[in-house]
């Protein structure tokens, strides 16, 4: 076997691709060849390493040196100085924010993070099943199929306390139990990778960086509930995710880790990819199923739930990508181990894509219950330009907005609803004090007006009316009566909309009215926008 003294990991996640990592990789390979180092140094393309805004990012092992914003022109120097002579190039290791040398013992940019879901992202070559296996891949599946009864698998998931990461926080063990108990010849597992939430791209990066993790989890779910067929529903624009998962399916079949009689257990499981067309509402599980069956992507009336009446009317488990990514480590290490992370009510971790007015943007995984303050100031490196924090929106456009007073509230699925917010799926949008709340509210509502599918009145009309009212306020024509109307409309939508889109569309507005009422009032009473954003 070839001996490599160094591995150079080039991040091949979509954000880095957009910044030109492919050219850097090619230049690196060429330069290594030219210097006769290609037999000694291996170039590995990985999934997202985390600090996406600093791309293209590369990490040199065994030292674990992270170079950021690497340009093609930097390549000869990295090869000559670092890879040949062993000298780290400080000027390319960044402004000290990532502290340059990350080292594999305790990479600085991961110091406050906890990596369960992302344990392989940015470390393995996602197109190599061997590298996944090297890091304990498919061992959990082997354990389940050869040592455990399906009901035992569900029991472990239940005890782990895992709840769905797609937004609704439904206990995963309970969900699997419903489908396991349903009588049917045929059942299905669907991995929900639609991810239509603006600013959210965690599921995409998980699929790109570690596709086998999802396949293994789906097979475990299939064994647990008695399904032999799985679908990954991915939005069509996620070209690289689709490519990687298809490649992974082919490899897993060759290795006999998908297909007939896996591990000689008699259990068979296959996975296919279904492409979504990009409507936000198609991430809602019943609309997703409707669209898979060839119908219009509109939600169905629940109950019955997909767990018993799902795809083709058969019992179907629909799980988010991140939820599934937790399954193999839970099965391998046990429920107690998993409960060691996060809070006692809400164990585990949460993956976020951090965006907005924050120094360090990108993909992070943190323990459940971490405070916003730690995320922003320890991991995110604070707010650029020394400006003040104004608000953070957790969980994408339908998540709640948290003001400065909430910086120390533990972020988990049960605490945030108590303050009128929600953890939601995956985006963490940070805004500084230069933004106007009314203006932000207007742009959020505009999104919902566009994405409402129109099937039910409260949402179809409600989103449009809410948008009208907010626009009116932002133009200086609002009244106090409008604020009352917003509240009434919101309550009606939350209580009577058919699906989660209409039910949660008012959440951001409600929290804004709760925490930033004076800003709305300034627009109404004084016809003044305190930040000078709105043209009154």
């Amino acid at each position: 076997m070839q001996f490599y003294r160094s591995h150079v990991l080039v991040c091949g996640g979509t954000p880095c691709i957009l910044k030109g990592c492919k050219a850097v990789r090619d230049a690196l390979i060429d330069e290594l060849k030219r210097r006769g180092l290609d037999e000694e140094i291996r170039v590995v393309e990985t999934g997202c390493l985390g600090p996406c805004d600093l791309g293209p990012v590369i990490v040199v092992y065994p030292e674990g040196t992270l170079y950021e914003r690497v340009q093609v022109g930097d390549v000869p120097r990295i090869v000559e100085e670092h890879l040949l002579k062993g000298r780290v190039i400080p000027s390319l290791t960044g402004e000290g924010r990532l502290a340059g040398v990350v080292g594999y013992e305790e990479p600085t940019y991961l110091a406050s993070q906890e990596r369960i879901v992302l344990r392989n992202c940015g470390i393995i070559d996602p197109s190599s099943i061997e590298e996944y296996i090297a890091r304990d891949g498919y061992r959990a599946l082997g354990k389940c199929l050869t040592e455990m009864e399906p009901l035992d698998v569900i029991e472990v998931v239940r005890q782990s306390g895992l709840v769905g990461r797609g937004g609704a926080a439904f206990p995963t063990g309970l969900k699997w139990g419903f489908t396991a108990n349903a009588e049917s010849e045929q059942k299905f597992i669907i991995c929900n990778a639609d991810e239509g939430e603006p600013g959210t791209f965690k599921d995409r990066l998980i699929l790109e960086g570690d596709p086998h993790n999802i396949l293994e989890a789906m097979a475990i779910a299939g064994y647990a509930v008695g399904a032999s067929c799985g679908y990954v529903y991915i939005r069509g624009e996620y070209v690289l995710s689709i490519e990687r998962i298809n490649e992974a399916i082919e490899q897993a079949k060759v290795f006999g880790l998908l297909g007939e009689d896996i591990f000689g257990s008699g259990f068979s499981f296959d996975v296919q990819v279904v492409k979504g067309a990009g409507a936000y509402v198609c991430g809602e599980e019943t609309a997703l199923i409707e669209s898979m069956e060839g119908g219009r992507g509109e939600p169905r009336i629940k109950p019955p739930y997909p767990g018993t009446h799902g795809f083709l009317g058969k019992p179907t488990v629909v799980n988010n990508v991140e939820t599934l990514a937790n399954i193999p480590p839970i099965m391998l290490n046990g429920a107690q181990w998993y409960r060691g992370f996060g809070t006692s009510k809400c164990p585990g971790t949460k993956v976020f894509t951090m965006i907005g007015d924050i120094n360090s943007k990108g993909l992070i995984e943190v323990p459940m219950g971490i405070t916003l303050r730690r995320v922003i100031y320890e991991i995110g490196g604070g707010i650029p330009g020394g400006r003040d924090f104004k608000m953070a929106q957790t969980g994408g456009t339908s998540g709640g907005c948290l003001p400065r007073e909430m910086l120390d509230v533990p972020m988990d699925y049960f605490t945030l609803p108590e303050v009128g917010s929600a953890l939601g799926s995956g985006a963490l949008l940070i805004m500084d004090d230069s933004h106007c709340i009314v203006d932000i509210a207007e742009s959020f509502m505009r999104f919902f007006v566009r994405e409402s599918c129109g099937k039910c009145v409260p949402c179809r009309e409600g989103t449009a009316r809410l948008h009208d009212i907010i626009r009116k306020i932002s133009q200086g024509n609002g009244t106090y009566e409008d604020l009352r109307l917003i509240r009434d409309l919101s309550h009606a939508m939350q209580g009577t909309s058919l699906c989660g889109l209409g039910q949660s569309a008012p959440v951001p507005i409600m929290t804004m009215l709760k925490y930033f009422k004076d800003e709305f009032e300034a627009h109404i009473k004084n016809r003044l926008c305190p930040t000078g954003t709105c043209r009154l």
Partner: protein, 120 residues
Amino acid sequence: MKTVEELERIRKQAQAMTRLREGGESIKIVVGMGTCGIAAGARETLSAIMDELARRNIQDVIVTQTGCIGLCEQEPIIAIVMPGSEKVTYGKVSREKARKIVASHVVNSQIVGEWVIATE
């Protein structure tokens, strides 16, 4: 895949591919690649070490470089760090000597006393 043992076998083999990225305790070979070292043939020494490791199918060794350590007349210099032992530095390591050191020190834990210039 029909058995868990089969997966375990593949895992063991595949771990060689990712070990470099995992950290942990490994034997370390450090080659002086300062200008003086390179002038004295450190590049060839490094290649010989790599070749010898590959020939013997050794995977759990980390090979890194360092700059000039101020003993220019002893170049090429290499140092071997075994987990839990002192660092042993060899001087004037030609290609042939390098291969011998890998065979004796790295594989069999036998220090080649006559070429050692320092232990610390």
